[in-house]
Amino acid sequence: MNRNFNFPDEILMAYADGELDEPQRSEVERAVRTDPAVAAAVERHRALRQDVFDAFADVLDEPVPGRLQPGTPGAPAVPAAPGKVLSLDAARNARARSAAAAPSAPRPAVWPRWTALAATLVLGVLAGSAWFGGADSDAGYISADANGRLAARGQLAGALSRQLASDPAPNSPVRIGVSFATRDGGYCRSFSVGASAGLACRSGESWRIPVLSEAVTANGAYRQASSSMPEAVLDAIDERIAGTTMDAAAERAARERGWKR
C-alpha cells in the first residue's frame, strides 16, 4: 500500500522538525524508507531549516553591544514611573528573593534597584487606585487583607458569582472573560473592568485575585499589541487551567453549585 497520500505536507514538516509523536512518527519513518517522494519532501524541509538557521547563526558569536547589557551606562534601566501590571505572586517572590539576597555579597548595582521596585509595585500602584474606592464607599471593586492578598468585593464580587461569560450583562461594568476548572479542584474566571483585567479564583465564599493588570496606554508604556487579555492574565490562566475553558452549560451548572466542586 502506498501511504504517501496519507501524509499532508504539514505532517512531513512536523516530522522534519522533530515535532511528531508516536505512532505518527514511526509511520512517517516507514514512508521515508519506502517512498522516495516522501523522503525528498522531508529532506527539503530539513535543508530549508538548516539554510535558514545558518543564515543567522553568526549573530550568536557577535559581541553584544554594551547598550543592551543591563547595568551598564545607557543600558536598559527600570523606568522612573513603573507600569501598572501587577502579579502579586511575582511581587511576593521578588520580595522573598531580595530578602534572601540581603545578607550575601554585594550585588551588581542594577539588581537592588529593581527588586525594590517590584516589591513596592503592588502597594504603590494600588494605594492611589480607584480599585479600592474609599473604605466607606461602595465604589471599590477590591479589598486587601493584612497579608496583601486581594479579594473581589462589591459589584465585582457580585458579577463574578452571578454573571455568565456566555450571557453578558449589559448594565454591569464587569465583563467576564473565560471560566475554567483549575488543576487544584477549584474555579477561576477572568474579568475586565474598564481598561483593567484580572483573574479571580473561588476561595471559600470569596473570590481571590491573584493577578490584576491595568492597561497602560501612555506613550512608550506597556500595552497589549493584539490580545484583549493582558499577558499576565493569560499566563496566570495557563498556570492554573485544567483542560479547556468551560462552555455555557458547564458555566451555568458551576454557578448553580455556588462555584463549589
Binding site: F53, D58, L60, V85
Partner: protein, 160 residues
C-alpha cells in the same frame, strides 16, 4: 537573578530580532526596547515558565506596537555586513546566507516571525505558538505556508 538571566539570553534575542528586522541597528534598537520593558515589568514574569518565551513575546509586541514604525525600510542589509564574512568561509556559503536573508526580508511579517522563532531560534512548536498567542493548529499551518513562500523566493532567486 532575573537581570543576569535576561543578559544571558541577549545573543538569542539579537538573532531573533535580526530575523525580523534585517538591519543590525534596528534589531538592536528592538532588543533594547524589549529589555527595558522586561526589566520594567519583571513582576509579569511567572517563575517556572520559560523566560525565553516570555522575552520573545515582549520582542514581538515591542516590534508590533513600537519599533516597526520607525525602522529604515530602504536598507535591507547594513553595508558593512556585505562581504564581512568572506575569508571566514567559502564565497558560496556566504552568498547562500545572503540569499536566505534577502528572501526572509521579502516575507510577510507573520511569516518572518514564525520562521524566526522555529527555524532560526529552534523553539518547539508549542512554545512558538505561545509566543505568538495562537493555537497549535494555526502555528503549524502558518509555518508550512511561510516555508513554502520562502522556498519559492529562494528558487526564484536561484533561477534569476
Amino acid at each position: 537573578m532575573l537581570a543576569n538571566e535576561l543578559a544571558a539570553l541577549l545573543p538569542r534575542m539579537r538573532r531573533f530580532a535580526r530575523s525580523i528586522t534585517f538591519h543590525r541597528e534596528d534589531a538592536d534598537d528592538l532588543v533594547q526596547v524589549a529589555m527595558e520593558r522586561a526589566l520594567g515589568h519583571s513582576e509579569q514574569y511567572s517563575e517556572g515558565t520559560r523566560l525565553d518565551s516570555w522575552l520573545f513575546r515582549i520582542i514581538r509586541n515591542a516590534w508590533i506596537d513600537e519599533v516597526r514604525s520607525r525602522v529604515r525600510r530602504d536598507a535591507v542589509f547594513a553595508p558593512e555586513e556585505d562581504g564581512e564574512h568572506v575569508g571566514h568561509d567559502s564565497l558560496e556559503a556566504h552568498s547562500q546566507r545572503l540569499a536566505v536573508q534577502k528572501a526572509m526580508s521579502l516575507l510577510s511579517e507573520e511569516h518572518r516571525m514564525v520562521i524566526g522563532l522555529v527555524l532560526v531560534d529552534g523553539l518547539p512548536y508549542k512554545e512558538a505558538a505561545a509566543v505568538l498567542e495562537i493555537p497549535m493548529g494555526t502555528l503549524t499551518s502558518r509555518l508550512a505556508r511561510a516555508r513554502e513562500a520562502l522556498q519559492k523566493l529562494l528558487s526564484e532567486e536561484r533561477a534569476a
